[in-house]
């Protein structure tokens, strides 16, 4: 300390958590050491990709790389294991982006999520999983990525995306729906070779998805009275798992049951409620896990998490399962117009009494950047402070400026 003259400074040995895996391990072993369910959740996340690859290699199971959240029940129904390429990129290493920029010559300004995905898929080109399903027509960098990966031996189905502009209903809506149904059948045929979707299996998968969404909704509701039990990174993994069950549906569901039990067994958390700064997070979930730690350390809690895939909109089990799948997507907040997402944000902000909104996007993502600015202005006019954070999929800790912005934002709300 200051009064000791000529003290030789020894820099800290622990330079902090650098990689995403180090952040997960820290959150699992230190932050959430009290929660067996959250520790299991992180273990599922850490082993997701490798375990699926192993099942393909050793047990002859089928898997494909997949992005759109709505497609996951269909993939499971087709007896494939979905490997969400976003998760692959999230845990990518330093080589991935270098491969994209240097081997594939993708420009530096291209979205880092796309580059991390391309690099990782290139490294896995001989893994035995060579199918990729995407609906990337709205994201030009991903379209380019798929083109270059075709040359690496990947079989890629880049589906046509459907948009539902505000006000579209009646015959126009039904026409879009019919088109989308054909796309779903075509995608299923590409996966299995069968022309007709196995509706019995799909129905079972939709039931499962509804069950899992309901459980996650319960967890999110239980977090409001117990805001610090499930911290930000764990929430992010819960919601990422919602899309793909981290490759192990039964185990994932078991984790949810365990976590509900843990939350229900909690005593009084009124002290936590008094100091918490409730926040809504929207947009990507990113790779810079230090950002989540910054939120936690500042007494923030991401009690509302608004991503493309909702946990509070169930599949209709009363209608044909394929139609149910199509309508779920077509009526979702991700169906094209940003106003749908804005409404979802508004609802979530009201629901949890959020003091502020954090919108996270990736540097170079042209697809969502404009909407984030529009949302910012909209919510500022309504008196809800928000901050737009631009992060990356580059490996390493977030920059000092990003942390300063997060910290200052939460200080502002305190």
């Amino acid at each position: 300390m200051a009064e000791t003259k000529e003290k030789k400074y020894i820099p800290p040995v622990d330079f902090g958590r650098q990689t995403q895996i180090e952040h997960i391990e820290y959150s699992r072993d230190v932050v959430h050491r009290y929660s067996p369910s959250i520790r299991r959740l992180f273990n599922l996340g850490l082993t997701y990709v490798e375990d699926v690859e192993k099942q393909v290699r050793d047990e002859g199971k089928r898997a494909l790389w997949c992005g759109p959240p709505w497609a996951m029940p269909l993939v499971y129904a087709a007896d494939y294991l979905p490997l969400e390429y976003g998760e692959l990129a999230r845990l990518s290493d330093v080589d991935a982006i270098s491969i994209a920029e240097n081997h594939f010559q993708m420009p530096a300004e291209v979205c880092s999520m796309v580059k991390a995905t391309v690099g990782e898929l290139y490294k896995r080109r001989n893994s035995g999983i060579d199918k990729i399903f995407s609906m990337g027509n709205t994201c030009e960098p991903f379209n380019q990525a798929w083109e270059v990966l075709k040359d690496e031996g990947y079989d890629i189905y880049n589906g046509e995306i459907v948009f539902r502009a505000p006000g579209v209903d009646g015959e126009r809506y039904e026409k879009i729906l019919r088109f989308f149904l054909k796309e779903i059948e075509s995608f299923y045929c590409w996966m299995t070779g069968a022309r007709d979707v196995n509706k019995e299996k799909l129905f079972i998968e939709l039931q499962r998805r509804n069950r899992i969404m309901t459980k996650i909704k319960t967890i999110m509701e239980l977090r409001v009275p117990h805001p610090f039990y499930v911290r930000s990174l764990a929430v992010m993994y819960l919601l990422n798992g919602l899309n793909n069950y981290l490759g192990k549906p039964d185990e994932f569901e078991d984790v949810l049951d365990g976590l509900i039990d843990e939350l229900l067994a909690r005593g009084d958390s009124s002290e936590d409620r008094d100091r918490v700064i409730p926040l809504v997070w929207s947009g990507g979930s990113g790779q810079e896990f230090g950002v989540y730690e910054a939120v936690d350390e500042a007494n923030g809690a991401l009690l509302g998490f608004v991503a493309i895939a909702p946990y509070d909109k169930l599949f209709n089990l009363e209608i044909d399962p394929v139609e149910s799948l199509a309508r779920w997507q077509l009526d979702s907040r991700g169906a094209g117009a940003s106003v749908y997402m804005r409404r979802a944000l508004e609802e979530k902000i009201d629901e949890i009494g959020a003091k502020g909104l954090i919108q996270y996007g990736f540097i170079g993502c042209s697809q969502h950047g404009v909407a984030r600015e529009m949302f910012r202005d909209y919510f500022h006019q309504k008196g809800i402070p928000s901050i737009n954070i631009e992060g990356t999929f580059q490996v390493g800790p977030p920059s000092g400026q990003v942390l300063t912005r997060i910290n200052a934002f939460i200080e502002m709300l305190a």
């Binding site: 200051a2 009064e3 400074y9 300063t404 200080e411 502002m412």
Partner: protein, 287 residues
């Protein structure tokens, strides 16, 4: 060093207690420190070294020497600035707060009518909107992409023109017709400056052009928040008179002069917040 009543807004002077508090603002280029105690204040500044902690230790040593106080006289310390994350104050009660909140409180206590702050530091620039009732941040904008609009940009420009940072601002004030510098990227601006020099443009005009280009960027940040007077210019670049003049020209409003060198505004705010965030804000809001 001096008396707090000579620098603090008269309406807020009594909000600061007699106990000893230290604010340390470890910026990317310089470390600043303010000690307040018994109605007096003491300041220190030093270049930021490789590590934040030795810089902080050095600043505190100098403060103790200058003030005659000892560590045991200090009730709490607040660390802020770029290097805040790695600071350790041992057993002394401490807190870490961002420079955005610290500049807001510091500028508020120096002038309670402050509503907008331009803070240009070594590696970033910020526009901060402040609640004049209590010094709390209402909103802020911060560049975090590159050196554009920061002290680093000015430093590089000074280097290219073969003058010191201190002289860059003075030179700008002699300009007859500021050069038009369109690039804010340090890399591109370098070739633009070399071209201007090759054309024989005067050093003063180039210097003024550099400051105006930076001020335009600041204007865009301010526009996002809305400019409410009074405007205070703080941070490491606030001593640059050319920059101050450019900001005033581009924004069309005078900046408010403070009675403390505004480079210490963040450290002063940190020292005030070391009293206890809640207490400082509650006291301030009462005013």
């Amino acid at each position: 060093m001096g008396l707090l009543k000579d620098i603090i807004d008269p309406e807020l002077t009594e909000r600061i207690g007699n106990d000893g508090f230290i604010g340390l603002d470890i910026g990317s280029t310089t470390g600043k420190a303010v000690l307040i105690s018994g109605g007096e204040y003491f300041t220190e500044i030093t270049p930021t070294g490789v590590y934040a902690q030795p810089t902080a230790d050095k600043l505190m040593e100098k403060l103790f020497k200058k003030s005659g106080r000892r560590l045991s006289d200090i009730r709490a310390v607040t660390g802020t600035g770029y290097g805040r994350v790695s600071l350790d104050f041992g057993r002394t009660p401490s807190r870490i707060i961002t420079e955005i909140s610290c500049h807001a409180i510091g500028c508020h206590y120096l002038n309670r009518n402050t509503q907008t702050i331009v803070d240009i530091g070594g590696q970033d620039s910020k526009a901060i909107k402040v609640d004049a009732r209590n010094g709390k941040v209402i909103d802020f904008v911060m560049n975090d992409k590159c050196a554009a609009g920061t002290g680093r940009f000015l430093e590089k420009a000074a280097y290219l023109m073969d003058i010191s940072m201190q002289d860059l601002g003075k030179e700008a004030l002699k300009a007859e017709k500021p050069a038009d510098i369109s690039s804010q990227c340090v890399v591109f601006a370098e070739s633009e400056l070399i071209s201007l020099r090759a054309k024989g443009e005067s050093r003063a005009n180039i210097a003024a052009g550099i400051h105006i280009a930076t001020a335009r960027r600041i204007k865009n940040q301010i526009n996002r928040l809305g400019l409410s007077p009074e405007l205070v210019f703080s941070g490491g670049v606030s001593n640059n008179h050319g920059m101050r003049a450019a900001i005033e020209d581009v924004l069309g409003i005078k900046t408010t002069a403070l009675r403390l060198d505004a480079i210490f505004a963040g450290a002063l705010g940190a020292a005030i917040l070391a009293q206890g965030n809640e207490a400082a804000l509650a006291n301030a809001s009462a005013g």
